[in-house]
């Protein structure tokens, strides 16, 4: 359908707009391109290189990927992170659903109070040190559960799910109760299946959150064999400490230190970016649910 011809000023605006947004997109993507190309580069030209990279330097190679694969540290971090993501998200979804289900039972005298009890924690917290001492008191220090239990419910995500639960007609609950179902059955068989799309968004949010989190691990984890991937990345990328990896591997990694840095970035980011196309249609809607107050 061809529209009527636009005036010249508007055509100039359109052209500039397209050009500008193209530049913005390129600038957004460039750092990732740089990283991927650098990870496929030979280490010597990479170490000597100065400025942007547009293609693998010194020709395409997988030497740094082989170096990383031969080293036990990164796969170990991967395993820990996977454990945290899987169990963490399970706990998250269960607990968030519990909380959202209870506060949407309007006939309970304390449901409003529970709501306030939960919301208050959004605005005030004890702080880093009391939380740290608390984790020690509870005996969670230096266990993987210190990275899962303290973050069971994210209050923002809880609000999202609550909004969705509010949209489910009460008559469903009533008829199930008459049929003799208890509330656990109603939650698992009616409410959660009916909120599948929102739960998918929460799985994404919680999953990405666990995958990317590092600070709690830095506070609460001491043994190196419990380190999640991001904490190992931090040593390599931020503290520039390649020795953490060199100790375990047979190959001398300091030689290819520069390309290793890029390679670990690719390895740590690819799983999320690979899921991205499948999940992105969900999360735009999730952001919107979050923006609507219940």
């Amino acid at each position: 359908m061809k529209k009527t011809k636009l005036p010249i000023s508007q055509r100039i605006f359109n052209a500039c707009n397209v050009a500008l947004l193209t530049v913005v997109s390129v600038l957004t993507l460039y750092p990732m391109w740089h990283v991927i190309m650098a990870s496929f580069s030979h280490s010597l030209p990479l170490a000597r290189h100065f400025g942007p990279i547009f293609y693998p330097l010194g020709g395409f190679t997988l030497e740094s990927y082989k170096g990383v694969a031969a080293n036990p540290v990164i796969p170990g971090g991967y395993r820990n992170t996977l454990f945290i993501v899987i169990f963490g998200v399970a706990v998250n979804i269960l607990m968030t659903s519990f909380a959202a289900y209870f506060v949407t039972r309007k006939d309970q005298i304390i449901s409003k109070f529970v709501m306030r009890f939960i919301l208050f924690t959004m605005f005030f917290s004890g702080g880093m040190i009391p939380m740290y001492l608390n984790i020690r008191d509870l005996g969670l220090y230096n266990t993987i559960w210190a990275l899962i239990l303290p973050v069971s419910i994210n209050t923002f995500n809880f609000v999202i799910l609550r909004t969705s639960f509010y949209g489910i007609p009460e008559s469903l609950e009533e008829s199930a109760l008459i049929d003799g179902a208890n509330h656990l059955t109603i939650l698992f068989r009616i409410y959660m299946p009916l909120s599948k799309a929102v739960l998918a968004v929460l799985v994404l949010y919680y999953g990405v959150g666990h995958w990317n989190s590092w600070f709690n691990a830095m506070l609460y984890i001491q043994s190196r064999d419990l380190f999640p991937l991001q904490l190992i990345l931090r040593e390599i990328l931020i503290s520039n400490d390649i020795s953490a990896m060199a100790s375990g591997g047979s190959q001398d990694l300091t030689e290819i230190a520069m390309s290793i840095r890029y390679t670990v970035i690719v390895i740590a980011t690819v799983p999320i970016l690979a899921l991205y196309p499948f999940l992105q249609k969900y999360f735009a809607s999730g952001v919107m649910v979050g923006a609507v107050k219940g």
Partner: protein, 324 residues
């Protein structure tokens, strides 16, 4: 609600009726009627008590002289002396100032970007191109902070991609940008915009899409150009969203993304980069000054809370928007 609620609770908000039934009796009856519901509630309450309210009470050590290893009740109460110590600390002023500067610059520079981006995107005629640009734009949001900061550090080292370009343009000396205090805030703000502008635009794009297209048609018929349509229809159309977002953001003024600061700063640039929470971390967990750093943290979260309240009240008065 014929099964699980009695007559009195059909109108739970009518005070007169509720007063006749004491709270605990009603609660007891609720529990007896639907025990499974309270099985659901129990872990939720336990979670918030253990991981939110217990640490809040733990913050009392800010008013004590707590020595690690000794039981809490044997510690001596010292009133506000930890707070006084903080304000006497030579670093207190710069830490508070940095927190404000970093946060306010992020808002001033970062807040308008997603709005402008959404408006520009909305003006695109080609929907396919629009989708591609949008999809690309929120990709960085999902990359971990460790990776982003690691990348940024690599890009601004002596031979990094950014330093390389800026050096050739004659804008910077040939040395790591993160070593000079003046560069920290710009790098923090710009990388923040890079990571979040696309994701931040999602709400505005959705708000723009919900504007009635008839309004634009009417404006066109009345002779409004594109610029005027943006100014008189698009912007007013998303104004409530903008205000709500600004309010949320303002409530976080003292809540600098300190994980990012921690990943980017170094003793070389403490004078511009050290913020309240990183200060708390160093004093508390590296120097083991638990009481002192808890006091600083408590000062921080109290400020947060007050600012949020003020922002919310102002917004309620002026625009009728409230967070709750």
């Amino acid at each position: 609600m014929s099964v699980s609620s009695g007559a009195a609770l059909q109108n739970p908000d009518i005070g007169g009726q509720r007063r006749k039934r004491p709270f605990f009796k009603v609660l007891l009856r609720d529990v007896r009627r639907s025990p499974s519901l309270y099985v659901i509630l129990a872990p939720v309450i336990a979670y918030y008590l253990l991981f939110a309210y217990k640490p809040m009470s733990g913050a009392l050590i800010a008013f004590m002289d707590y020595i690690p290893g000794f039981p809490l009740w044997e510690s001596e109460w010292v009133g506000f002396s930890n707070f006084v110590d903080f304000f006497r600390d030579p670093n207190a002023f710069s830490v508070i100032r940095n927190t404000f500067v970093i946060s306010v610059s992020s808002i001033v520079w970062g807040f308008p970007v997603p709005i402008v981006f959404a408006l520009l995107l909305n003006e695109l005629r080609n929907r396919r191109f629009m989708r591609v640009v949008q999809t690309v734009s929120y990709l960085p949001h999902f990359i971990s902070l460790v990776v982003i900061c690691g990348l940024l550090r690599t890009f601004v080292t002596t031979d990094g991609a950014i330093t390389g370009v800026l050096y050739r343009l004659g804008l910077v000396p040939n040395e790591s940008l993160l070593n000079s205090p003046a560069n920290f805030v710009p790098l923090y703000v710009v990388s923040g915009i890079w990571q979040e502008f696309g994701y931040g635009a999602i709400v505005y794009i959705a708000a723009l899409l919900s504007i009635n297209t008839e309004l634009y048609e009417a404006a066109r018929i009345d002779g409004c150009g594109r610029a005027k349509q943006v100014w008189h229809i698009s912007l007013p159309g998303i104004a409530p969203t903008i205000i709500a977002m600004l309010l949320l953001r303002l409530g976080q003024v003292m809540n600098v993304g300190f994980e990012k600061v921690m990943l980017l700063y170094s003793p070389l640039i403490y004078e511009t980069a050290d913020v309240l929470s990183t200060f708390v971390y160093r004093k508390g967990l590296q120097e083991m000054n638990f009481s002192f750093s808890t006091a600083v943290g408590l000062f921080n979260s109290t400020c947060n809370f007050l600012i949020l309240m003020i922002a919310n009240t102002v917004s309620k008065r002026t625009s009728g928007n409230s967070l709750w």
